[in-house]
């Protein structure tokens, strides 16, 4: 039903006053050229060096322009503040040429010195940036951030002249240009940051260099950006205003979408997915996402210290049933750990997609000394309190019981307690999810290295560590992928984890939205987006 038709009904039904007010509301929420973005949560802040979450990234990527940007269709590097770049033969030195017409929103020119300042700020210990490690790929970045090196001039980036920036890396890093799109490596305006300190991100102070600038920030209500008139590429920008609505309740978000107050939602309630999938109007969106839903297996705890048990658990259930009947959002059953396509890497499918290997799982369990699950201690499955995780855990529990005769106890803990249990390795099997920091297999595989803080399984394998170190120093792209392939092989043999499914992004998008392209990074710069339609 169109809004006009609904309004006719209103005329009949209500007093004139209410109607007049209602029309007012309806038009207010649909100003032409204003994009209303369902953003899920209130951002922690808008300082690119301080924030860590996805909602923050959605906002910041529209407020700041990185050195090298990304094409929203292909995710290939395209000019940002830099117009061109040269890479040395050993792939460790990048020389960027900056555009001369790039300006901050206060009119000041952006120069190479701005990047030097910003990256130094990111790495300065007192900034306490959680994402400082994104600059560890640059020479001496890690030592400086850890306080072992005090001299900032030894950092691997310098301004050759105002429009030439040279960056030296620790190792060839094929995903370096893509990494520049992470908010932690955006430039920040020195004069403004120094003048206002921690208040520089307030609407009255904030200065940025992207297609949009901050206009209004009402906590838990709305963050409103307006078109940046000093942006060098402003003729390409169609929208006048973007409102980010931190609507945490998925149900409310969906209702706001239905009443046309949002152009896109952040998510969709699980139980509404079938309804919208069946809806033929074309607003339902579902696309693969660079993330994996998996379980950690604590290799330090019996009986999970036994490889055969870990293998049996991996083969003894049907991944397809989980995505088909529980999550229902078009997720792909995970047959390896790295989501296929991450930085052009496709791991071989080493795990069964369905229940076809259950017989093999039974054999493995018997070989481990637990035929039919007999004698196997009860296995505790830990997850953080949430309906969605609970449903998956129950399905797993039931499948393992029927297929292998294994008894699984479900344990749910509140978020921080759950994190603490993982850190203390005080669990047997634990739910987890991992979203890639950048478009490369490394962001998935390096967390299984022996000394990685995110290796919550306690997995240690010298050969695995060696392969990833080799990959990090490999100049040849093809060879590098071969190292990753071999590392995946080890991982899928040792199985300190149970990969379950590859994430999808499921949301609603109004048909008025043009220039929005699905991609695995869920990267949607609003610079390219426009609105059509009657409003």
């Amino acid at each position: 039903m169109t809004r006009e038709k609904k309004q006719n009904k209103t005329w009949r039904g209500l007093s004139a006053l209410l109607v007049a007010a209602n029309v007012m509301v309806a038009t207010a929420s649909f100003a032409a050229g204003t994009f209303n973005f369902g953003n899920g949560a209130e951002p922690k802040d808008l300082d690119p060096h301080i924030v860590t979450g996805v909602p923050e990234h959605h906002i910041l990527l529209n407020m700041f322009e990185p050195l090298v940007a990304m094409d929203p269709k292909t995710l290939a590097p395209i000019p940002g503040v830099a117009t061109s770049w040269k890479v040395s033969k050993d792939l460790k030195t990048y020389t960027f040429t900056l555009r001369k017409d790039a300006k901050w929103s206060n009119g000041e020119a952006i120069t190479a010195a701005d990047f030097v300042y910003s990256w130094t700020r990111l790495l300065t210990p007192a900034t306490a940036a959680e994402y400082a490690y994104q600059a560890y790929y640059m020479k001496n970045g890690k030592a400086f951030n850890e306080g072992k090196l005090k001299d900032a001039s030894q950092l691997g980036f310098k301004a050759i002249d105002p429009y030439t920036l040279e960056v030296q890396l620790e190792a060839p890093t094929p995903f370096f240009l893509g990494l520049l799109n992470h908010h932690s490596l955006y430039p920040v305006p020195k004069s403004v940051v120094e003048k206002h300190g921690s208040r520089w991100t307030r609407p009255e102070n904030m200065v940025s260099n992207g297609a949009f600038i901050l206009d209004k920030w009402e906590m838990n209500k709305v963050i409103s950006l307006k078109k940046n008139e000093t942006y060098w590429d402003k003729t390409k920008v169609s929208l006048d205003r973007v409102n980010f609505h931190p609507v945490e309740k998925q149900d409310t978000e969906e209702k706001l979408f239905r009443s046309k107050e949002l152009h896109t939602t952040n998510e969709l309630p699980l139980e509404k997915i079938p309804f919208w999938q069946a809806d033929k109007s074309g607003v339902y969106q579902q696309s693969p996402y660079l993330g994996i839903y998996h379980y950690w297996l604590n290799v330090g705890k019996a009986p999970l210290d036994n490889k055969l048990v870990r293998q049996a658990l991996n083969l003894g259930f049907d991944r397809e049933r989980i995505v088909k009947y529980v999550t229902r959002g078009g997720q792909e059953p995970a047959q390896g750990f790295t989501p296929p396509g991450a930085g052009g890497f496709f791991p071989k499918a080493r795990l069964p997609k369905d229940g076809s290997s259950i017989a093999k799982a039974k054999e493995l369990l018997a070989k481990a000394g637990y035929p039919g699950g007999k004698g196997l201690p009860k296995i505790e499955l830990l997850y953080n309190t949430s309906d969605a995780h609970k449903k998956i855990a129950e399905a797993m529990q039931q499948m393992w019981k029927t297929n292998l005769g294994i008894d699984v106890v479900l344990v749910n803990q509140e978020w921080k307690v759950y994190l603490d249990s993982q850190t203390q390795k005080n669990y047997m099997v634990s739910r987890a999810g991992w979203i890639g920091d950048y478009n490369d297999a490394n962001t998935f595989l390096d967390m299984f290295m022996s000394d990685n803080g995110n290796n919550k399984a306690g997995f240690k394998n010298a050969k695995y560590d060696e392969l990833l170190t080799k990959a990090a120093n490999e100049k040849n792209a093809k060879k590098r992928l071969e190292f990753f392939q071999e590392a995946e092989g080890i991982l899928m043999e040792e199985l300190p984890t149970i990969p379950i499914y590859v994430y999808t992004r499921v949301y609603l998008k109004s048909k008025d939205v043009q220039g929005w392209y699905p991609n695995i990074l869920d990267y949607h710069p609003l610079k390219y987006v426009s609105l059509t339609g009657a409003k």
Binding site: R3, K6, Q7, K9, T10, G13, L14, L18, A21, N22, M24, V25, A28, E42, K44, D45, D47, I50, T52, P125, A126, T127, A128, A129, E130, A132, Y133, N145, E146, G147, R199, T201, E218, M219, N220, K221, H245, V247, E248, K249, D251, T252, K255, L256, R258, S259, E261, E414, W415, K416, V417, L419, D420, S421, T423, A432, G433, D437, G453, N454
Partner: protein
Amino acid sequence: MILKYLLKRIAVLVPVFLFVVTVVFFMIRFAPGGPFDSEKRVSPEIMKNLQAKYHMDEPLYKQYFRYLGDLAQGDLGPSFKHANRSVNEIIFEALPVSAELGLISLTWALLIGLAAGLVASMRPNTWLDYIPMSFSLIGISLPTFVIGPVLVLVFALWNDWLPVAGWNSWQDRILPSLTLGMAYAAYISRLTRGGMMEIRSQDFMRTAKMKGLSEMQVVVRHGLKGGLLPVISYLGPALAGIITGALVTESIFHIPGLGRFFVESAVNRDYTVVMGTALLYFALIFFCNLLVDIVYAFLDPRVRYE
């Protein structure tokens, strides 16, 4: 007399306040996990930088006294979750929203609850009693997360009369305040009925009736003052509760109020916000109850400030 009473109440308040500060401070600190734990773990070096920034590398007793010192100056500290924002700012922004929502809801609750309760008490055990009391039972039993979405469905989606959610225009206030006020209205109607029924059987009420006053006059002039005492003592904690405890309503209607901070801060181990909101709740309860006591003394001659 009343001044002396107030001073006495406030004198008791100080040690209780300190006790609450201390208990909450240590309880939240001893809960597992901390503000900087996340799914992606930060390296020990970066963790060190973070802890230094928030003085969390100091021994706990030092942090406690630092907190007390800041508190004495009215500074509730910086939020961990909302970086670059102070707890004072957060409360300053969200409290007016919650207060507005709370007061409108309570107004609904009083209008509906008093009317229903009075009618019911005047005609006990007739349909004028059964109908409102059945509704109030439904109101008490139906949680806000059912009432809210149903109201939205009927008034905002099926009929485009009111907004789905938001907090901009006056229309935005109607559905959430009704949702939130409903349960309170139900309680108030039951308390009103109970209070009035008790009063009706008193001798002075019978006397008033015998004097030849109309039923309405009896109730308004003689009954209300005593019959509403239970409602008034309920209003104190209700006001504090309705301002701080509207989490569900706030989230259904996407309202930028305080309620969410109570829950969210505990989940995030946002220590300073936990403290700030807990102390605010404490202060609200104290003042609302004080207010009730004062009103009580005016209404009930048996209560004296002793």
